[in-house]
């Protein structure tokens, strides 16, 4: 999935993830945790963790790039294709953005065309193990060519919208899309 031996401009490889928990570490009660799909969709959906484990359909190795300049190479990601979740939700015409909400009240926003990219993933496992709490258990988003702040951890809601709305870092000036190969760090 990643260009062999090359990093996006301005990035350097480090051995492992730096753990960011800008709004603290949320507690997770997996028995009551749900992933809700809402907004401008034809079908509102709710998934349990068990549902998503059964739906696991994608596995690949790809690098992770943080906007602060570090990258972790060759991470193994496993989970459910976001495109599959999108197809089940049947977004209405003219949906342009996807707003992602997390258990810690973190939010981010992704262009619809990137959310449905074939590489976009709802991650359940990383490097062969279920996500740790620090890494976003039970689920996080991953879009390989967008900076890591788009890879929201502890995801609980996905909202399809026609109107743009800033997420947490976007409200602080970070880019609406965040493509690593175009160095879209700030607006």
């Amino acid at each position: 999935m990643s260009k062999p031996e090359s990093l996006p401009p301005g990035q350097r490889a480090i051995p492992n993830f730096i753990i960011y928990r800008i709004l603290g570490q949320p507690e997770v009660d997996i028995s009551s945790w749900r992933l809700r799909i809402e907004g401008d969709v034809g079908k509102l959906s709710t998934y349990t963790y068990e549902d998503l484990l059964r739906m696991t359909d994608t596995s690949y190795t790809s690098d992770f790039h943080c906007v602060t300049g570090w990258s972790v190479k060759n991470v193994k990601w496993e989970g459910v294709s976001l495109r599959r979740l999108v197809m089940e939700a049947q977004p209405l015409k003219n949906v342009k953005w996807v707003y992602v909400e997390s258990l810690d009240k973190y939010t981010t926003v992704v262009p619809y065309e990137d959310f449905i990219d074939e590489r976009s993933l709802l991650v359940l496992r990383i490097n062969g193990r279920p996500l740790s709490l620090e890494q976003g258990f039970p689920a996080r988003i991953f879009i390989p060519y967008l900076y890591g702040w788009k890879s929201a951890k502890w995801v609980t809601k996905i909202v399809f919208t026609r109107e743009y709305r800033d997420g947490y870092w976007e409200a602080l000036g970070y880019h609406q899309r965040g493509n690593v190969w175009k160095e879209e760090r700030f607006k």
Binding site: R12, A13, I14, P15, N16, I18, R21, N127, S132, E134
Partner: protein, 109 residues
């Protein structure tokens, strides 16, 4: 693993009274859960070295130093109060050093 306690004057201005330094054979640490296990072992060493029971340790944050080192910080609590920090140094995902600082306010048992 070899650990020892010191009280460096250089850290007194920061309110630090004790430093536990542990040296061990480099250990592969790839998953954060493996580091949590090591942190528990270090907490036991700290507890014995300072004769403090009821120590708890909790992951706080980590940071990259250069391109090959990552420093993981854990907060240390004694009977519910924050009393210090443990820092674990990894080099290319190999744990090479563990170091804990305990503040002046702690009264040893």
């Amino acid at each position: 693993m070899e650990c020892w306690v010191s009280s460096p004057e250089a850290l007194a201005p920061k309110g630090i009274k004790y430093v536990l330094t542990c040296i061990h054979e480099p250990k592969n640490i790839f998953f954060i859960e493996e580091l949590h296990e090591h942190a528990s072992v270090i907490t036991d060493s700290l507890s014995k070295a300072l004769n403090l029971r009821d120590l708890k340790i909790m992951f706080s944050d980590n940071e990259v130093i250069g391109t090959d080192y990552i420093l993981y910080s854990y907060k240390v609590f004694y009977r519910g109060d924050y009393v210090g920090t443990c820092r674990f140094v990894t080099y290319n995902n190999k744990l090479i050093k563990s170091l804990c600082t305990i503040s002046r306010g702690v009264v040893l048992e």
